[in-house]
Symmetry: C2
DNA sequence: ACCTTAGGCAAGTGAATGCTTGCCTGTCAA
DNA sequence: TTGACAGGCAAGCATTCACTTGCCTAAGGT
């Protein structure tokens, strides 16, 4: 579970999740392009690849080889554990 | 919002949230003790104090001075933004 | 066959960060 | 007033981590 938090700690990786939420099954180069277009982030291809490895280790992204393409798919289910671990506090006011 | 993820990235800080979830309004020394007892973590008082600062900056912990004591209270509301940003994926199977 | 394209591997670098150390401030009780 | 207790401040150290650089593998098209 620590891997999930470590993965979410980086802004580029959070942006990658945003990009993948719009459309699944994107390749590394597609993700690089959309990071730049939609989020103004321009890390190198290798940097993005390493980020995707971290996300995959955390179970937040699944991959599938198809020919020479590697398609990335988001999986938000590990995030549910967060609000399960620290449920919404019933407090007098958080208005 | 980046502060929230940064705060959650550390295991000691996550353990602090666990401790605070069991009981609110604890002092720095109480938190140190419970970290050791319940989680096997024995960082120094100063280390815990710095962690609490990070948690407070993220809005996950609120504090109140009472005499020479500083009481810490958990606030889980920032965590709701996580599942709002990446909602549960309606996928073929996450069973 | 050849070249392009999509991706991977690994070492090295610089910055962020968790933690320690030492000292200081303020509050309460005897 | 003095001493003990709860906490704060700031510099220094060591590790982690994001990113680059350079080279390599493999699949697809012409």
């Amino acid at each position: 579970m620590a891997d999930v938090f470590r993965a979410l700690a980086d802004e580029t990786r959070r942006a990658l999740l945003d990009v993948l939420l719009r459309r699944d099954e994107q390749t590394l180069f597609e993700l690089c392009t959309r990071l730049a277009m939609d989020h103004g982030l321009t890390p190198s291809r290798q940097a993005v690849s390493q980020h995707l490895d971290v996300l995959e280790s955390a179970g937040l992204v699944h991959t599938e080889r198809r020919g020479r393409y590697k398609l990335h798919t988001i999986d938000t289910s590990p995030l549910a554990q967060i609000t399960e671990r620290w449920p919404p506090t019933s407090r007098k006011a958080t208005p």
